[in-house]
């Protein structure tokens, strides 16, 4: 049976430092994706995710087991992301490759083991459209959609993290997805 996050934290504090790897394994995907949506840069998201894990590890003895580990982790991540956003202006990465010396520009070649070039391009366009559509949402909706779909937090966890009633979380997620559906209209039909 898989140990609960809180049990793992206790074990790490008791000296089984190696079990922290299990916590990283559980949350790395969700954390990197959440931070990627917040920072809009994959490299920065990985760097900040690493910082967040180190920060969490350093403060593990201050973790209150009455709360969920995931909520604590994402609260630290959220604060770290907001700090970083404040510190720098976001750089948006274009899907277009800059022109080289021969003036030969174009799209990045995307690695893939299946999709045709058309599908690959379509996927990139869809990914860009989703990123932009989320980015255009009002901040409160953007944040909740990111926590739910990229941080993969439950409604309860989001309610705790944002200090909101559960009903408000449900309503805001519903509204946020409605807005996304409208913005992504063409992409959702094919």
């Amino acid at each position: 049976m898989q140990a609960q996050d809180e049990e793992l934290v206790e074990s790490v504090l008791a000296g089984k430092v190696e079990l922290f790897a299990e916590l990283i394994e559980r949350y790395q995907g969700r954390l990197v994706n959440y931070l990627y949506r917040m920072l809009r840069n994959e490299e920065d998201a990985h760097d900040l995710a690493q910082e967040v894990f180190l920060k969490i590890y350093g403060a593990l003895d201050r973790f209150d087991p009455r709360y969920r580990f995931s909520t604590w982790l994402f609260r630290v991540a959220q604060n770290a992301a907001i700090d970083q956003i404040r510190k720098r202006r976001l750089k948006l990465v274009s899907i277009h490759r800059p022109e080289d010396a021969d003036g030969d520009g174009g799209d990045w070649e995307l690695p893939g083991d299946g999709p045709t070039p058309y599908q690959a391009r379509r996927n990139v366009e869809r990914g860009t459209a989703i990123r932009e559509a989320i980015g255009e949402l009002p901040w409160e909706y953007q944040e909740l959609i990111t926590l739910r779909h990229y941080g993969e937090l439950s409604y309860d966890e989001i309610a705790t993290l944002k200090n909101m009633p559960l009903g408000t979380v449900k309503n805001k997620l519903f509204r946020g997805r409605q807005m996304l559906k409208e913005k992504l209209g063409d992409f959702l039909t094919d």
């Binding site: 049976m1 898989q2 140990a3 504090l13 089984k16 430092v17 190696e18 079990l19 922290f20 790897a21 299990e22 990283i24 394994e25 790395q28 995907g29 990197v32 994706n33 990627y36 994959e42 998201a45 990985h46 995710a49 690493q50 894990f53 180190l54 590890y57 350093g58 403060a59 593990l60 003895d61 996927n123 869809r126 990914g127 989703i130 990123r131 959609i145 739910r148 779909h149 990229y150 409604y155 449900k170 309503n171 997620l173 519903f174 997805r177 409605q178 996304l180 559906k181 992504l184 992409f187 959702l188 039909t189």
Partner: protein, 197 residues
């Protein structure tokens, strides 16, 4: 049973696609959905949205977890203090002090020490608010008596001072950060164990 309006249905549909509806609510929603084709189309659009959001996730770069594990610092809670060395130093100090006292007694200096302590108390009483300064004076007198008693006392005092310094040093020093490599090896073993379970 209350009739569901369009807004309610849309909300329930959204919750259902996100896996948040209970069995009873799902059954009720299914009844509503069975009535109209427009709602089925709405459901497909919502499912497409969820799928697209999921597809837009990025992959974690290979070796990320190991890189984090390798850069773990030695946090404050890991610096559990070992009392072996301070205890050894304290015992050493006690032995040295006992030797010094024994040496002093052998030379008949115990009486002198006692007089010095009495002098200390008398001085403290007289000094009143200058108690601290008087204490130092008394301590200096006592030490003087001890040191001048014999060569053994002098050597024992020197040893005592050395142990005392080492004791303070051992209590102040920080633990060296742990070597990350064994941690990674242990992590691999733990992972295998967990996977086997």
């Amino acid at each position: 049973m209350k009739t569901m309006d369009r807004e309610n249905v849309a909300e329930w549909l959204d919750l259902d696609v996100d896996g948040q509806l209970g069995a009873a609510e799902r059954a009720r929603l299914a009844q509503v959905l069975a009535a109209g084709g427009e709602l089925a189309a709405e459901r497909r659009r919502l499912e497409a949205l969820h799928a697209d959001l999921a597809a837009a996730r990025v992959a974690v770069r290979p070796g990320f977890r190991d890189a984090v594990m390798a850069s773990l610092p030695a946090p404050a809670w890991r610096r559990g203090r070992s009392w072996t060395l301070p205890l050894a130093m304290a015992v050493g100090f006690a032995v040295a002090a006992a030797l010094a006292l024994a040496g002093a007694s052998a030379e008949g200096a115990a009486l002198g020490t006692g007089v010095a302590v009495l002098d200390l108390l008398a001085t403290a009483l007289l000094a009143g608010s200058g108690l601290l300064a008087a204490s130092w004076r008394g301590l200096a007198l006592a030490l003087e008596e001890l040191i001048s008693a014999s060569g053994l006392s002098l050597a024992a005092m020197a040893l005592g001072v050395l142990f005392l310094n080492l004791l303070f040093f051992s209590m102040l020093r920080r633990r060296r950060p742990h070597d990350p490599q064994p941690v990674l090896e242990r992590a691999a073993v733990e992972r295998d164990t967990i996977e086997r379970q």
